[in-house]
């Protein structure tokens, strides 16, 4: 049987991810001085919520650490601890540890205790350091103990709290008993349980919520402190907090909410209550719940009668609930969105087919049918865009992971680094977001480790000691562009060249442009670092980045200026659900070649084609040689090879920048196609990445350029295409 707690637990971890992101954003804003007064509260809430949730799942290590963190944040919040750079530094590191603890809890692993202990010690230090000067600068007069000015003991105020959980509260693994326990810390509690809504045993839903608690809290606390206890259950309960009365209520005062009572409904919806015209006492009495209260408690009840269900209030509470239902965001299972995207894909195909039929039927363009069809086309496009927008997410979630990375790599390399991000709000499909994190991580590691010079070198070069790494996201011509730039020394071209010759990648006398030299770093196994460092080494180089980017249908390029730094530019499609493709035909079959892989198209001349062994031809192209691949033959459509002069050639670039020339019969133009998985609908086919349905209803296969190019390379006796073209460059 599936554990229902597992699903709740998973939700908790998802929420933790959001809280962690908010925590980090808030802390960074505080560090940059761009924080708003509300920021520190948001930061505190994030940690507090995680602690609360973790408590329910008995994640003790997480709870303990979050508690220490929260305590320090609370001091900042109450201005007893100044948010100095040192303090914020500790907070940021604590956020990192908290993230690790959450991850460890999710994966059922443990976090090295020494890290949490070290930070707890740091917290102790800042707590001590922060409080001492604070006592001096505090504006309020210092407390006088037992002297003349000892405060006269005032009757302690009593808060009235009505708390009615809804089933969702329990379903999210919250528990009234825990909330009451928390509340008890604020003062003395008198709890009256209202069971009037409890149904008969046989009709009871064990997962329902039927109880209401009337709580009287006697203690010196403010509303925020009370609200704080109910903070993460407010959405799933009806909570009414009535402040203590300045004067004891006259007994004839109609029972009801006091002016200023704040009712909170779903989603934090709040409104202040102002009493309706004098309520009819009988009505109020009739509506009053048959509270569990016995006559023995009458005196207390008289002073502050239990909150009755006054019709007007009930109506307002219901309104509050209704308002809560109109939420700004909803959580939707990704599968549902994917299903919708799939259906919209079908719709687009269907619409294209319909257009084709109308065209074939020879219906006039001005006819009603054609015009209605045009409208349908617009609508379909709009639906498609809207559905894609549902999956689109700002790259913020990925960008938010980078400050931590920068801190860690900076500490490891003993460099001072400032990360500047721009365009966090740039939106891109969720699937793309998930897959750009790794390449970006690698590029940023690389920028700090290899791009930035050491502090001494920077100072010697007259640069600021602190290096800057910039991460920018923007939309450009229907693609998302990510730039990682550093203000380091730029690519050491002499060293790259030397290394390339050493590795046999280029001939010793090869003439390469600066750009070509820069791009050598994307070749497999290429690293200029004299020894593999812990940071960006790890046995992978920029070729891995290039490969993963290419797998997403993206491209990566570099530009570098000696002494001024380097910029890596990554261009990716906005979605993986549709693809810009070149429609070509090979031996009567329609194929789609992803546009991102195509470098150029050309018409080969007979004198440029040179035969190699294994029936492989190479094409002389601007001083280099590129292997030629007959697409129809390589896919088994044709036994014979096409005559190069009779064909159209497409220069494509596959994984690792390996190039090949694909020969096809004809090019029919570009179009956006909806990607349909072959594996899911049929089975994997070598050389084919996916399929799509064309306007005429026929299935067209989308070429897996990498596979075809790889195949060509193995046919050519394992010779590296790039190597061929580079080493013969003259």
């Amino acid at each position: 049987m599936e554990d229902p707690m597992a699903a709740i637990r998973e939700t908790f971890f998802q929420e933790c991810e959001e809280q962690l992101a908010e925590l980090e954003t808030g802390l960074i804003a505080m560090e940059n001085g761009t924080a708003e007064p509300e920021t520190v509260n948001a930061v505190f809430r994030a940690v507090h919520s995680m602690k609360g949730g973790a408590g329910i799942f008995a994640l003790d290590q997480l709870v303990r650490f979050a508690h220490v963190f929260e305590t320090a944040l609370d001091k900042v919040r109450s201005a007893t601890l100044a948010a100095t750079p040192t303090v914020l530094g500790v907070f940021l590191r604590a956020a990192d540890v908290l993230a690790d603890l959450v991850r460890a809890a999710r994966e059922n692993t443990t976090v090295d205790d020494s890290r949490t202990k070290a930070l707890v010690a740091e917290f102790d230090q800042i707590n001590d350091a922060g409080e001492a000067p604070e006592a001096v600068t505090r504006e309020a007069p210092p407390p006088v103990s037992g002297g003349l000015f000892a405060p006269v003991a005032a009757p302690e105020p009593a808060w009235e709290i009505k708390f009615t959980p809804r089933p969702a509260l329990y379903a999210k693994a919250n528990e009234t008993a825990l909330l009451l326990r928390e509340l008890r810390r604020l003062g003395e509690l008198d709890v009256v349980l209202d069971t009037t809504q409890l149904p008969e045993l046989s009709e009871l839903d064990p997962e329902g919520a039927y109880l209401t608690w009337h709580i009287r809290l006697i203690g010196d606390c403010d509303e925020a402190a009370i609200r704080h206890v109910f903070e993460f259950v407010e959405d799933d309960s009806v909570l009414v907090i009535t402040p203590p009365e300045p004067e004891p209520a006259a007994s004839e005062e109609p029972a009801g909410f006091l002016p200023g009572t704040v009712i909170t409904g779903d989603n934090g919806f709040k409104f202040e209550f102002f009493p309706p015209p004098m309520a009819d006492e009988e009505e109020a009495e009739a509506a009053a719940p048959a509270a569990v209260a016995a006559p023995a408690v009458a005196p207390r009840e008289a002073a502050a009668p239990p909150v009755p269900k006054h019709p007007a209030v009930e109506a307002m509470a219901a309104k509050a609930e209704a308002a809560g239902a109109v939420s700004a965001t909803i959580r939707v299972d990704l599968d549902r969105v994917d299903r919708m995207i799939d259906l919209v894909g079908e719709l687009v195909i269907n619409e294209a087919m319909l257009s084709q039929r109308v065209l074939e039927a020879g219906i006039a363009r001005a006819s009603g049918v054609a015009m209605a069809l045009e409208e349908l086309e617009h609508l379909t496009r709009e639906i498609q865009d809207s559905v894609m927008a549902i999956r689109a997410q700002p790259v913020r979630s990925v960008f938010q992971r980078m400050p931590r990375l920068v801190r860690e790599v900076a500490a490891q390399t003993h460099k001072q680094v400032r990360l500047v991000t721009e365009g966090e709000g740039t939106e891109v499909d969720k699937t793309v977001i998930e897959r750009i994190a790794d390449p970006l991580t690698h590029m940023i590691r690389n920028a700090i480790d290899h791009g930035l010079e050491s502090t001494e070198k920077r100072i010697a070069a007259g640069k600021p000691a602190e290096g800057t790494v910039k991460l920018i996201a923007l939309h450009r011509s229907g693609r998302i562009v990510l730039e990682v730039s550093d203000d380091g020394g730029g690519i050491n071209r002499a060293r790259v060249r030397e290394k390339a010759i050493e590795n046999g990648v280029i001939a010793a006398d090869a003439q390469l442009s600066d750009d070509e030299i820069d791009n050598l770093i994307f070749l497999p196994g290429f690293s200029t670092a004299a020894k593999v460092s812990d940071i960006s080494g790890r046995g992978v180089g920029m070729d891995v980045v290039r490969q993963s980017v290419a797998a997403l249908g993206g491209r990566i390029s570099i530009s570098s200026r000696p002494g001024l730094g380097s910029t890596f530019t990554l261009s990716l499609p906005l979605t993986l659900a549709v693809l810009d493709g070149m429609v070509v035909s090979a031996h009567g079959h329609t194929l789609i070649i992803p546009l991102s892989a195509i470098v150029e198209t050309l018409k080969p001349r007979a004198q440029d084609v040179f035969p190699l062994d294994h029936e492989i031809n190479v094409l002389a192209l601007r001083g280099g040689y590129v292997p030629m691949v007959d697409v129809a033959a390589s896919l088994g459509y044709s036994e014979t090879f096409i005559e190069p002069e009779q064909s159209v050639a497409l220069l494509v670039e596959g994984e690792g920048g390996v190039r090949a020339v694909l020969l096809v019969d004809a090019i029919h133009g570009q179009r956006q196609v909806v990607i349909k998985s072959l594996e899911v609908n049929y089975r994997a086919v070598p050389g084919i990445g996916a399929a799509t349905v064309m306007g005429d209803g026929r299935v067209a296969l989308i070429l897996d350029v990498d596979a075809v190019v790889r195949h060509a390379r193995s046919d050519a006796g394992g010779r590296n295409a790039e190597q061929l073209s580079l080493s013969d460059a003259s």
Binding site: A171, E175, R184, V191, E200, L201, G208, L211, W213, A290
Partner: protein, 105 residues
């Protein structure tokens, strides 16, 4: 000759459906509920216990609470209920559910 029900250690939201079933299957006879093992009591199981008490009252059957653990008693009190809200003596009708709230001292 009474019927017995030993409460599980954890009475959280997951335990509530099972607890409800246990009461329903034992209905119509006097029942002794042993709360000696309870380490955690949640509001949803409390709902079941309260509804069970009302059912036993309606049936005129005795419902006893035996050996409540400290945790059980403490949480019960915290939630504004008392052992009396969960028990019933068959000889005479107890006070109405909801009217026998014992105040915490």
């Amino acid at each position: 000759m009474s019927n017995a029900l030993e409460l599980p250690t954890i009475l959280d939201l997951i335990a509530a459906p099972g607890l409800l079933e246990a009461f329903i299957s034992r209905r119509g006879r006097a029942l002794a509920v042993d709360a000696g093992a309870v380490q955690r009591l949640g509001a949803q199981c409390l709902q079941v216990l309260l509804a069970a008490r009302a059912a036993w009252v309606a049936d005129g059957m005795a419902l006893a609470l035996e050996n409540p653990s400290d945790e059980f008693s403490a949480t019960l009190e915290l939630l504004g209920a008392s052992p009396r809200d969960l028990t019933h003596e068959a000889q005479h009708d107890g006070p109405d559910l909801g009217a026998n709230k014992e105040l915490a001292a």
